[in-house]
Each structure stands twice: as structure tokens, then as C-alpha cells.
Amino acid sequence: MKVSNEPLWWAFFGAGGALSALCVPALLFLVALAMPLGWIETPSYEAARALVHHPLARLFLFALISLSLLHWGHRFRYTLYDGLQLKHLESLIVLFCYGGAILGSVFTAFVLWQL
């Protein structure tokens, strides 16, 4: 009997879902509402850059972005399988969804590294 390898992807899916559900609304509120509407003071470019430059902030951003991408990959894979009933294209879909999420994560790591 073959144990499924689904737990690998499901763990990333679960972690990404939980982390983005917790953090993205707060980040959106701060960056997309509170700052532009002047409810809180917008930090200067230098201050924001210094904040993002901190290793912990970079680690957080990497985890948030890469896990959210992996969450998307898993969800979208099943949307294509069941919603659009494209399971016959399984290998292509897996490559596109997880491959895309991994590429996005590598790109995120690169950008954060360059900061």
C-alpha cells in the first residue's frame, strides 16, 4: 500500500492559509487603508526600508509570501481538477501550480536577499 505524498503539500497549504489569514488583513489595513487615509503616520522611505532590512522582517516576508503562494498552488490545483474537471492534465497542472509557487518563492528570496 502506498502512502500518499499529499501531506507535504497539504502542510504548506495549511501553513500558508493560516499565516495569510492572520497577517494579510492586518498588513492590508495598515498599508492600503490606514496609511493612505492618514489614520496613522506613514513611515519615511528610509524608515520603511530599514524595517524591511531587518533579518527577522525579511524572514517573515519570505514565509508569508512563499507559503501564501504554496497555499494558492494547492488550492488552484484542486480547483482545476474538480472545478474545471481537468484531472487528465494532472502532471501539467502539478507542474504549473507547485512549480509556479516554487518559482515565485525563489524570486521572493532573491528580491529579499538583494534588499
Partner: protein, 247 residues
């Protein structure tokens, strides 16, 4: 005063006389105290004795009268006719199952899947009778009681879109019943069940649509059982990969 009636459009399939199923409309009295099952029995007794359907207890315990009413899987003994006024009411056999005849579905696939998860108490070594009974506290009972309420009515399989798309999926009720024994303090069979359920056609085909729990007439929450299983199976998987010496 004349008795108000309601039309029932009933799915008919008589394999010896027709290749494709048809619908037959019956006018039945719309009585306040009637459930859909009463109306079907009225048809059987008074209008058309050839109509075939399963039923037994009439009180939501036996789980045999599940059918699709207007596209939703329900126990017909728990669905008041008046809810569907003014009608017509469309009655079909449970979706996602082969139809034997009229409203009767073939359950053998489910029975085979149910057996696979070993829904009974497994112990490594049985305690001799002389040592007394297996004691259980109310808290230990509460851990699994909800899952033990399943009456195998199969509404969850009909409601589950994944069951419809993936016939190999072991399905909500079988997984909930596996969980019922896993969570029982007297049971030692969770590893055996995990072997079955951690495969691709086990828990992993579930995409948490949640319809199984929405239609369950006994509030078993199979979707919750499956999610708990996914967490347990994921822990197992990572442990076996990161600490292969641990097994």
C-alpha cells in the same frame, strides 16, 4: 372541503422494461402531518404498487430512506411534505450511486469501503474476562460519541462532489467511523486504519467542501473528522521523513 394535493415527480427505473430512467408524476394529499416517506407509502398502497423504495423505522434511526428531494439528499422520514408546497416535489435516488430500481441504490461499494477502515474495536491483546470490563470515563466517551451517531444513511456520499468525481474516494461516513474507533480509549487500531486512510484514495481526495457535514441528519460532522485525520496523517508523514529511525 376538498383535500389539497401536491404533485410528486418520482424517478422511475425498471431495468427489465426500460433502458433509461423516466419520471412519473403522482398527485398525493398534502397532509400537514405527512413526511415525504408517508406520501411515497401512500403511492405504493393506493396508486401504484410497483414503486420501489427502501424504508424501515420512520424516525431517523435506520438510515434507509435517504433520497434526493429537489436535488438535496435528505431522509424522507424527516422531510415534511408541507415544506415543499406548492410543489411539484422531485424525488430521485441518492446521487453518486448506481440505481438498482426506482429509488433503490446499490450500497455494495460503500459496504466494501466501510470494511476497509476496520470499524470495530481493535486491541493488541484481549483482556481476560476475569479482569473485568474496559472502563471509560464520560470525557473519554465524549471524545468519540459524536462520530458513533452515524446511521450509514449515505446522504454524505450523495452530497460530496468529490465522491461523485472520484469513485475510489473512501468517503465521509467511512472516515468518520474510522475516527469513531480511533478516538475510543479502548481501541488500539489507529495505526492499521491510518495505513488505509493515508493513501491517495483515503482522506487525501477530500477538498473540504463540507457538504457532508451540512446534510448529515445526525450532526456527525464527517468533514471535521477528515480534517483531524489530515493533521494526524501529516504529522505521521513528516515524522517518517524527518526521523525515519523513529518508526
Amino acid at each position: 372541503m376538498t383535500q389539497e394535493t401536491i404533485a410528486l415527480e418520482v424517478f422511475r427505473y425498471r431495468p427489465e422494461q426500460e433502458r433509461e430512467p423516466t419520471f412519473q408524476t403522482y398527485e398525493v394529499p398534502l397532509r400537514k402531518d405527512w413526511v415525504v416517506l408517508d406520501a411515497l407509502n401512500y403511492i405504493k398502497d393506493e396508486i401504484d404498487g410497483t414503486l420501489t423504495f427502501r424504508w424501515s423505522c420512520r424516525m431517523g434511526v435506520c438510515g434507509s430512506c435517504g433520497m434526493m428531494i429537489n436535488g438535496t439528499p435528505v431522509l424522507t422520514c424527516a422531510a415534511f411534505l408541507e415544506t415543499y408546497r406548492p410543489g411539484p416535489v422531485r424525488i430521485e435516488p441518492l446521487a453518486n450511486f448506481p440505481v438498482v430500481r426506482d429509488l433503490v441504490i446499490l450500497m455494495s461499494d460503500f459496504m466494501e469501503k466501510l470494511g476497509r477502515v476496520k470499524p470495530w474495536i481493535i486491541t493488541d491483546k484481549e483482556k481476560p474476562v476475569a479482569e473485568g470490563e474496559y472502563l471509560q470515563t464520560p470525557t473519554q466517551l465524549a471524545d468519540f460519541k459524536q462520530y458513533s451517531m452515524c446511521i450509514n444513511c449515505l446522504l454524505c456520499y450523495s452530497a460530496c462532489p468529490v465522491s461523485g468525481l472520484e469513485p475510489d474516494f473512501i468517503g465521509p461516513a467511512a472516515i468518520a467511523l474510522a475516527q469513531r474507533y480511533n478516538l475510543d480509549s479502548r481501541d488500539e487500531g489507529s495505526a492499521q486504519r491510518m495505513e488505509v486512510l493515508s493513501q491517495d484514495d483515503g482522506i487525501w481526495q477530500c477538498t473540504l467542501v463540507g457538504e457532508c457535514s451540512a446534510v448529515c441528519p445526525k450532526a456527525v460532522d464527517p468533514a471535521g473528522a477528515i480534517q483531524r485525520y489530515k493533521v494526524a496523517s501529516t504529522n505521521d508523514w513528516w515524522r517518517s521523513k524527518l526521523m525515519p529511525w523513529g518508526k
